[in-house]
Symmetry: C2
Subunit: 209 residues, 2 copies
DNA sequence: ATCTGTGAAATGATTCACAGCC
DNA sequence: GGCTGTGAATCATTTCACAGAT
């Protein structure tokens, strides 16, 4: 219940459980043990049980967890039982790819507006909607009940864009720009940075060939 | 030196240091303290010093770290002092976006081949090269000295594709498919999954509106 | 017999705090 | 005065191991 004392690492793992449970649902599994879930996700059963125990007692001793029930509970805990609306900032190649990526939509994250600081992009049609100028951010965020901003601008502009988003009432930021952006403590930011992933990977590969 | 006992969290942070140092270089900074680096990256100076101490003594007491020198050392530690070649598997929308993403190339990661299991994609031109059938994987990996595989296929096919990559001598995998893939212990895998990021974000946002 | 939920123990990561050097 | 490098202390996370439920 008291989300303040749930370790962040635990929260980061909950979506993995949601995904595994969704898969089990689609396979018509009715019950799953922490053991099975663990081997599906390559984690120890103890960790799964401990993680879940932060939020309640969802299992039955001797049996395991009801798949549908646990999935529902976790979705509610994560706030996934509703639609989330996001705006995209930056409609270059990356931004366009993000808009067209069907994965967000499938999981109830809807991109409902697109902005760009570049005048030459403004007014262009991208998918279903027009690219808007940043000056319309405030109004659109309010009108369309947007809570999440997706940042797909060049590194140099990212911090400014993020500042603008925060000033205009955006609460969560998914940042694709390769920068360690600064945000106020009450804002949640997540960075997507494949180059960083590769650069830590090569540490382990460097002695090959 | 002995990379086995460097904690993985530390390795994951090194690329952040590399990036910050690159930026400092471009601003012609010559020296930087753990303090300054920390405020740039929002980390404690102690953590930075401790992280670096796993690999050597790079700083000068009373002064700090020479930017160029530290950058070079870290790049060498991470194996970034050479080019890494990767192949892409899956040339759908996501795959095409990945090929066109200039960020990899800028940091010396080169995508040098593209594959797709779908016959109708094979032979199409994507950027500079032809889409190849999976049957040519083995030969191409060998000929072009590819060590990294980038997976951009639908979730359902991902594990199979990853298995094929591993069987064909790929040592590192950057996986964009939303699955918890299984790989042998000697293979390094990194997952890029923006939906997971959003789903853990909403935990903190769920009580808004 | 099987599996959860959970305190306690063990392990791991971060931060402190200071000696030593510039 | 300022800063690094690092043991020691603190704090966080994972794993163990078992009582209790089915």
């Amino acid at each position: 219940m008291d989300s303040v004392e749930v370790p962040e690492v635990v929260v980061l793992r909950l979506p993995l459980y949601v995904r595994a449970l969704s898969q089990l649902m689609s396979e018509s599994a009715e019950v799953v043990s922490s053991q099975q879930l663990g081997s599906l996700l390559q984690m120890t059963p103890a960790q799964i049980r401990k993680d879940l125990s932060y939020f309640g007692r969802f299992g039955k001793q001797g049996r395991g967890y009801n798949v549908r029930f646990l999935l529902n509970e976790l979705q509610e805990i994560l706030g996934l039982d509703r639609e989330w609306r996001a705006c995209l900032v930056g409609v270059g190649r990356l931004g366009r790819a993000i808009i067209n990526y069907p994965g967000f939509h499938r999981d109830n994250f809807r991109i409902v507006a697109a902005f760009d600081g570049d005048q030459s992009q403004v007014g262009n049609k991208i998918g279903a909607f027009d690219v808007q100028p940043m000056s319309e951010l405030s109004e659109t965020v309010c009108d369309k009940k947007i809570t999440i901003g997706i940042v797909a601008v060049p590194a140099q502009q990212a911090q400014n864009v993020i500042n603008e988003l925060v000033e205009n009432n955006i609460k969560g930021i998914l940042n694709y720009a390769p920068v360690a952006a600064n945000v106020p403590m009450n804002i949640v930011i997540r960075n997507i940075d494949p180059v960083l992933s590769l650069q830590s990977m090569t540490f382990y590969l460097r002695h090959l060939t």
